[in-house]
């Protein structure tokens, strides 16, 4: 049993740290809701709520364009990563062939290497093939980067599927392809959702790659657009705060929405281990 004193102490600590985590973000929200006329160079507390900053930021910052770019890139990366990681994860988990573990270790390199490392050669390669300033220059490298994690993740999940399930499918005469898409993929739905959410978040929030690859303003992603917007709006924080919220919201919203899946994915993994 948890004693009453312990319970109060635990809640107090959790509340304190939740407040510390949230305060800067609350400051952004409250500033964004402050009428432009009352705005200052820092956080402000609105006397009455005003949504006008969002409209101003949306129009001045061209965020409709930037969000479309970000969405297109992020969704493409998620889909490509999921398909390729499922196939490769299946290969590494359920086939026996020479060099399998060597190939698996090679894919893991991407987990440890920072994007700063390969972005320079990548830029010159893509420039020479005329791919810089295109969505491909964002989609393909980020798919490669996400694959390192995706393959690792799917392989481990597929390996945790009980052998009996796979053997039963084999006895029914299921081919490898059918076994993968009819049995393994449906059972791995929580793992897939977790992976999709993480890859979406990484791609959406990525900054260095679009900064290097994109010069065409209409192809800027949301964080890149925000960085440029910030350098132009240093005095009126309320508009910048509204722009920040526009950029952060898709990921934060999906985080809130998919949190249940995320946690259940973590817990089911722990139980199976």
């Amino acid at each position: 049993m948890i004693s009453a004193r312990e319970r109060v102490l635990n809640y107090a600590i959790l509340t304190l740290f939740a407040a510390l985590a949230l305060l800067p973000l609350i400051g952004v929200v409250s500033s964004a809701l402050t009428p432009a006329a009352e705005s200052g160079p820092s956080f402000t507390w609105p006397r009455h709520l005003d949504l006008g900053n969002f409209g101003t930021a949306w129009r001045q910052g061209h965020f409709a364009t930037y969000l479309t770019s970000s969405l297109l890139v992020a969704v493409s990366v998620v889909v490509l990563t999921a398909v390729l990681a499922i196939l490769a994860g299946f290969s590494f988990a359920h086939f026996d062939y020479p060099g399998r573990s060597a190939l698996f270790y090679i894919t893991l390199i991407g987990l440890m290497v920072p994007p700063e490392a390969f972005v320079i050669p990548l830029y010159f390669n893509l420039r020479d093939t005329g791919l810089t300033d295109s969505y491909w220059s964002l989609i393909l490298p980020q798919t490669a980067q996400s694959l390192a994690f995706g393959v690792f993740w799917m392989r481990n999940f597929f390996r945790s599927v009980p052998v009996s399930v796979i053997e039963a499918a084999r006895l029914d005469g299921a081919s490898d392809w059918r076994l993968l898409w009819r049995i393994l993929v449906p059972t791995s739905r929580p793992a897939l959702l977790t992976m999709a959410m993480l890859v979406f978040m990484w791609t959406w929030n990525e900054f260095l790659l679009p900064l290097v690859m994109i010069t065409d303003e209409s192809k800027r992603t949301a964080p890149l657009g925000l960085a440029f917007f910030q350098s132009e709006h240093t005095t009126q924080y309320s508009v910048l705060a509204a722009a920040s919220i526009i950029v952060a919201l898709p990921v934060v919203a999906s985080y809130v929405f998919l949190q249940r899946h995320f946690i259940s994915g973590m817990l089911s993994g722990a139980v199976k281990g």
Binding site: I2, R7, N10, I13, L14, F17, P24, L25, G27, G40, P41, S42, L80, L84, A85, A88, F90, S91, D96, Y97, F104, M112, V113, P114, E116, A117, F118, I120, P121, L122, Y123, F124, L140, P141, A144, L147, F152, N156, R159, S160, T194, M201, W204, N205, F207, L211, V212, L226, A227, L240, A241, S244, V247, Y255, Q259, F262, M266, G269, A270, G273
Partner: protein, 316 residues
């Protein structure tokens, strides 16, 4: 975050599973189809990650401005890292950031975990977890704009300091040579403490309750309980937290790009920022690549050391 969800699981697999495999393989035909399934992913990885990595090392051995013909440099670009005070400072700043991104958050989170050993079983804990973890999912650019407002000359922090009569302490935190780096570091502390706390609270939830009961029966106080049960039980989580936060510290780029541009002077210059600045700003591509190689080597070495110091059976 990724590894958060994952690594503990990976480590907990039954030790029997991996050892069975080689035996099975010897008795079976090679399943060539396996290559086909892995091929698409391997092609994308090779073209967009592995080949550029190789080229990175190659370019680092040349003087190149990105446009004209490159000339052989040998290890000049590397020796420059040791000579150039700005680059040396960059790496030094990285190690200072490790203090703020890793050491402080992990130490704090461990202390908190020690007093909230059963927080995982409280009602509503998932709501707290979601809130505490939130900084991890917010785009770094957004985080940077929020903290820039806090640290601004007329920002929240200075206003608060003036309100309590500490006018003399108030300053442009990100513009002051002596405070810019710690100010950036504290943003890192804010970012990573949630990650550590969530990891440790989850980890404590997995420690068998019998261990705590046994410790109580042995008459262990809270301190002994922490060192005898909680800390050993969290070894896996501490390793994960160390790995993730150290990498985050060494890779810091967005934060500095938006908040300080490496300034004032080079007070917040960091290797990742120098890589970008030299390759795409000042046309020193060879030098930028040498810094990138060094940074990658440091990250790999530290990751290796962290996992080595905490030996555990891992099947991967």
């Amino acid at each position: 975050m990724a590894a958060t969800a994952h690594r503990p699981t990976a480590r907990k697999r039954p030790a029997g599973a991996p050892t069975r495999e080689p035996v099975r393989r010897r008795g079976r035909v090679v399943q060539w189809k396996g290559y086909l399934y892995a091929l698409p992913a391997l092609i994308v990885l090779t073209v967009f990650l592995l080949v550029p990595l190789g080229q990175l090392v190659q370019i680092s051995l040349f003087h190149w401005d990105g446009i004209s013909v490159s000339t052989w440099a040998g290890f000049d670009n590397y020796t420059e890292i040791a000579r150039d005070p700005r680059l040396r400072a960059g790496f030094l700043h990285s190690f200072i950031l490790i203090l703020f991104f890793s050491v402080i958050p992990i130490a704090l989170a461990l202390m908190l975990a020690a007093v909230t050993t059963r927080a995982g079983r409280l009602r509503g804990v998932s709501v707290f977890r979601a809130m505490i973890f939130l900084p991890q999912v917010v785009a770094m650019v957004v985080t940077a704009t929020a903290w820039t407002a806090i640290y601004a000359p007329d920002g929240v922090l200075n206003t608060a300091l003036r309100a309590i009569g500490l006018e003399s302490v108030a300053r442009p935190w990100l513009g002051d040579f002596s405070t810019a780096l710690p100010a950036v570091g504290l943003i890192g502390t804010w970012l990573e403490i949630g990650l550590c706390l969530v990891l440790f609270v989850a980890g404590i939830g997995q420690i068998p309750a019998e261990l705590y009961e046994a410790a109580k029966l042995d008459g262990a106080g809270p301190v002994r309980e922490f060192f005898a049960v909680t800390l050993p039980g969290l070894r896996g989580q501490i390793t994960v937290a160390l790995t993730l936060t150290v990498i985050a510290a060494l890779r810091t780029f967005d934060l500095v790009y938006v908040a300080t541009h490496g300034g004032p002077g080079n007070a917040t210059s960091l290797p990742a920022y120098e890589v970008y600045n030299r390759a795409f700003g000042t046309g020193q591509v060879g030098s930028a690549c040498a810094i990138a190689v060094t940074l990658t080597a440091v990250i790999l070495l530290l990751t290796f050391l962290i996992t080595k110091v905490q030996p555990q059976e891992d099947q991967t």
